[in-house]
């Protein structure tokens, strides 16, 4: 009688990649809900459009690469890439902007580098950075004014028309600068109190944005609780950003305050959902801390002294470059060893 011959271990109780990705998708829902509630249907439409396009693009490339569609399409990773783009692009960005971003992300940044697990750069952020550089106007003028859904925000059909046909009739004067953008451009000539009078800031820190960021924070904490990811990257990201802000921008009349840095723009989405992409992040705990802190510091630098109001995409991509370098210097100490073995094996050993 012959039985199955198998190498140990014989049990396997892992969350498959597809389930990990599903959890990531679910954890973004509070943030998406908040975006929709405070900024209208734009993000939801973007998300659906980007996810659909991402899956189609992934399928097309997999088919061209003669990879089994059934295995690779089910891992949900393309959907996550599309989702992250849909969440981070301006809610009213025209359809072709999102399309360029998604196709760049899936086809160039991910599949041309070898597909899942082989891409050195965060695909979503590569796509985002491309459209941010290529279409600066479309990327900065399509942020809607915060208005509660069903209480003044344009309805679904108007939003759809705006995104897909570019009509602007029904929603004239509906867009406005984001809080980070507003603060950055006014801070040279205005005091903090004057700046904060602008409606984009609302009564709290940044109207609508604070809730969106809080919702992404909540989703991210769920992922931490589920052990989908470790705390190292989000915490060091926020710590890097926060410490930079405290060190260089403690005067709100000179620089955007810490509260705005943490709760406006893509901070929480970036810290919990984008920087934590395992494929393109550093490996060891120490490496993750350096990686996350690097992103946080770069976000502050670019937001404060750079040309762009927000900086998650560039910061993540820049730190992606540094990942092999970080990994090289930050292997953990192995049990029973005094020191970690850094670098590469020396050739002339033995």
């Amino acid at each position: 009688m012959a039985f199955v011959q198998q190498s140990s271990p014989h049990t396997h109780r892992a969350r498959p990649t597809s389930r990990v990705m599903l959890w990531v998708i679910l954890a973004t829902l509070p943030g998406l809900l908040a975006q929709t509630l405070f900024f209208g249907w734009g993000n939801l439409i973007n998300v659906l459009w980007c996810v659909g396009l991402a899956v189609v693009a992934e399928a097309a490339v997999l088919w061209l690469r003669k990879k089994p569609l059934s295995v690779f399409l089910r891992d949900n990773t393309a959907a996550v890439t599309g989702l992250l783009l849909g969440l981070s692009l301006p809610p009213l960005a025209p359809w072709w902007v999102s399309a360029v971003a998604v196709v760049t992300a899936i086809v160039i940044a991910k599949q041309l580098y070898g597909g899942l697990g082989s891409n050195p750069f965060n695909p979503a952020m590569a796509g985002y950075a491309l459209v941010l550089i290529s279409f600066p106007v479309a990327m900065t003028t399509n942020w809607p004014e915060a208005a509660m859904l069903f209480q003044g925000a344009p309805d679904f059909a108007d939003t759809l028309a705006r995104i897909f046909s570019g009509t602007q009739t029904a929603i004239d004067g509906w867009t406005m600068a984001t809080p980070l953008d507003e603060y950055k451009h006014k801070v040279a000539t205005h005091t903090a109190a004057e700046i904060l009078r602008h409606p984009t800031f609302g009564e709290g820190i940044a109207r609508g944005w604070e809730w969106v960021n809080a919702a992404f924070l909540a989703g991210g904490l769920c992922l931490l609780a589920l052990r989908i990811m470790t705390w190292h990257i989000p915490v060091s990201f926020l710590a890097g950003l926060g410490l930079m802000s405290l060190a260089f921008g403690s005067n709100p009349d000179q620089h955007a305050p810490l509260s705005l840095h943490l709760l406006a723009g893509g901070t929480m989405l970036g810290a919990f959902f984008i920087a934590t992409d395992p494929v393109t992040a550093a490996t060891s705990h120490q490496g993750k801390l350096i990686y996350g802190a690097g992103i946080g510091i770069l976000v502050y630098l670019i937001r404060t002294w750079g040309n762009y109001p927000d900086a998650v995409a560039f910061s993540v991509l820049l730190m992606n470059f540094a990942v092999p370098f970080i990994d090289y210097y930050t292997p953990p100490r192995t049990f029973g060893h005094h020191k970690a073995r850094r670098g590469l094996p020396s050739r002339n050993r033995g």
Binding site: T11, H12, V279, G336
Partner: protein, 600 residues
């Protein structure tokens, strides 16, 4: 409360232990035939000391290791040695090895036994000898000879003796049930080992999912110094290095053994075997085996004779062969699959899992690594499993080794949590195997190179020596030549031709030179009236010398000496000289008769 430490990583797989703890340990019975492998320990294979057809008694030694590391093997019951030959043994390779086939006679008759009344009256080497003669090798899995382990080198004083009752692998309950039912034996064995090692501390570490075992051990240890320590359940807390870390906070250095830091771990079953060997004179001929898995009707623990075929045990546990998906020897995390049920129980077989296909399902297809790092989170050795995987797959073995591949204990935690279902441990085994092969080849190549270089050096040296010898010979020959020439010339210059004295030769040369000078300057002197008397004396002297030379030559010829040529030439020269002297004498006589004819 004993202080506990934690180790990094670890997992909590479903324990599945309750299936086999509901029944007490049952005797497995005596099968129709026992297949007793001769290699059940690390070291040299034992060689049979019985013949086919012999009747052996229970506990009789049937094989022994005469030299080298190893322990003997004993007959688990009385019976006839049916044959000795190859049979598949429980090993991951599934290969066959030499086994003794024993047909039990059902009498189960013991050999005469002589238990020790008080081991403390014996010296330690005698007790270690008893343990060796009982064939005890570590029953936790590795099978290292216990007597060797219990006699660490003098500079490795063991201060902490640990009895490993963690049994962290799912399904396995052999140690658990042993501690519950044979706590006194465990403690007795521990005492013997403690007496041998004299540690400062004795600890029994038990995971907190075995409260009954911990309670039984506590009771058995009452009144002793032994600590019973309950540790949190976390796989692989029963790994030697991990348990030492938990109980002492010490880390076994990479590449080292626990004795390097003054710690020793022993297995529960080994302790029982030691107790039986010392107090009952019973060798290791049976062990507790957990029979479990969804395909068994009556899972539980049995006391099985070494050599009992798995099929016998499984049948008695009510197995349903059609339901067996895979048959695992050991635990689900580190055990290996058995190709069939004919392999026998050995000293290290602790558990057989007859798992259904739903219980231990086939792994899902492997997907690309997404570098999620779950593997590193659970690695108890704090390695970078995904980097090791990348390097193993790319066959960059030096890089894998650099990342401490050889510290991997193959616990399987990484593969257990891998969301991409990558068989990581298999990659590490592959890499380790390849590196070992490469090392062996490297060593072989190094040896060959060394041999080649040594040979080259030797040839060169010989060549040089030859050259040197040749030069020396040439020099010697030249010197001899010069000496002989000098000799010969000296012989011409002096009457004492046989003397081979350098000074004489030189003097001869000087004299010759003077003679030549005289010959040149003496030409005008020829105008003087020739001294007849002197010429006559010269001629006579030359004649006398020629006679001597001829005598020497005759002598040399008779002796066949190598200076015959020389002497011949010298004789010829002397003859010339005699003639010249004669001529000169004649000329002088004539010139004295008619001086007018004298010219110049």
């Amino acid at each position: 409360m004993t202080q506990l430490w934690d180790f990094a990583g670890g997992i909590h797989p479903p324990e599945n232990k309750q299936q086999s703890t509901s029944r007490p340990i049952r005797p497995a019975g005596i099968p129709e035939r026992l297949i007793i492998p001769l290699q059940q320990h690390i070291g040299q294979r034992a060689e049979p000391v019985v013949q086919v057809g012999d009747r052996v008694l229970k506990g009789q030694k049937i094989a022994d290791v005469r030299s080298g590391l190893g322990v003997p093997v004993h007959a688990p019951t009385s019976g006839i040695v049916e044959s000795i030959g190859e049979h598949p043994v429980p090993h991951p390779s599934g290969l066959a090895d030499l086994c003794v086939f024993l047909r039990p006679d059902g009498e189960d008759q013991w050999r005469p036994r002589s238990p020790v009344r008080d081991y403390r009256e014996l010296d330690r080497d005698t007790v270690l000898g008893l343990i060796r003669e009982a064939g005890i090798a570590g029953m936790g899995g590795a099978g290292f000879p216990t007597n060797v382990k219990l006699s660490p080198p003098r500079d490795r004083k063991v201060h902490t003796l640990i009895l490993n009752g963690a049994e962290c692998e799912p399904y396995i309950t052999a140690d658990d049930m042993t501690m519950r039912e044979r706590a006194d034996d465990v403690v007795a064995g521990l005492k013997v080992m403690a007496w041998l090692l004299r540690p400062e501390r004795c600890v029994i570490g038990i995971e907190d999912n075995k409260p009954e075992a911990a309670e039984a051990m506590r009771k058995a240890c009452e009144g002793t110094q032994t600590e019973v320590v309950v540790i949190p359940t976390k796989y692989p807390s029963g790994g030697e290095k991990q348990l030492i870390r938990i109980l002492t906070g010490l880390e076994v250095p990479s590449g080292g053994i626990p004795a390097d830091i003054g710690v020793m771990c022993q297995n529960i079953g080994t302790a029982v075997a030691v107790a039986r060997a010392v107090f009952n004179d019973e060798p290791l001929i049976s062990r507790v085996v957990t029979l479990t898995g969804g395909a068994l009707r009556e899972p539980g623990n049995v006391d099985a004779l070494i050599g009992t075929p798995m099929s016998y045990l499984l049948e008695r546990a009510g197995w349903r062969p059609e339901q067996v998906g895979r048959l695992v020897l050991g635990g689900p995390m580190m055990g290996f699959t058995l190709p069939d049920t004919e392999v026998p129980v050995t000293k290290t077989s602790n558990c057989v899992i007859a798992a259904t296909a739903t219980e231990l399902p086939a792994p899902p297809p492997q997907q690309p690594c997404i570098r999620c790092g779950q593997c590193a989170e659970v690695c108890p050795m704090e390695l970078l499993p995904q980097q090791l995987f990348w390097h193993a797959r790319a066959e960059e073995f030096d890089k894998a080794e650099h990342l401490n591949l050889f510290d991997c204990i193959e616990c399987g935690a990484c593969a257990y949590v891998c969301p991409s279902a990558i068989p990581l441990v298999q990659y590490y085994r592959f890499a380790k195997g390849e590196i070992r092969v490469q090392r062996a080849e490297q060593a072989k190549a190094d040896r060959a190179r060394e041999r080649f270089e040594a040979r080259q050096a030797r040839l060169e040296r010989e060549q040089q020596e030859k050259e040197q010898k040749r030069r020396e010979r040439a020099k010697a020959a030249a010197e001899a030549q010069a000496r002989k020439r000098a000799e010969a010339e000296q012989a011409t210059a002096r009457d004492d031709a046989g003397e081979v004295d350098e000074r004489a030769a030189k003097a001869a040369l000087v004299r010759q030179a003077l003679e030549r000078k005289k010959a040149r300057t003496g030409a005008p002197a020829a105008a003087e009236p020739p001294d007849l008397e002197a010429l006559e004396k010269q001629w006579l002297q030359a004649r006398a010398k020629l006679d001597t030379m001829q005598g020497l030559l005759a002598e040399a010829k008779a002796k066949q000496a190598d200076n015959v040529d020389k002497l011949e030439r010298a004789v010829a020269k002397n003859q010339e000289r005699v003639q010249r002297a004669e001529q000169a004498l004649n000329d002088a006589r004539q010139s004295l008769q008619n001086p007018s004819q004298t010219t110049h």
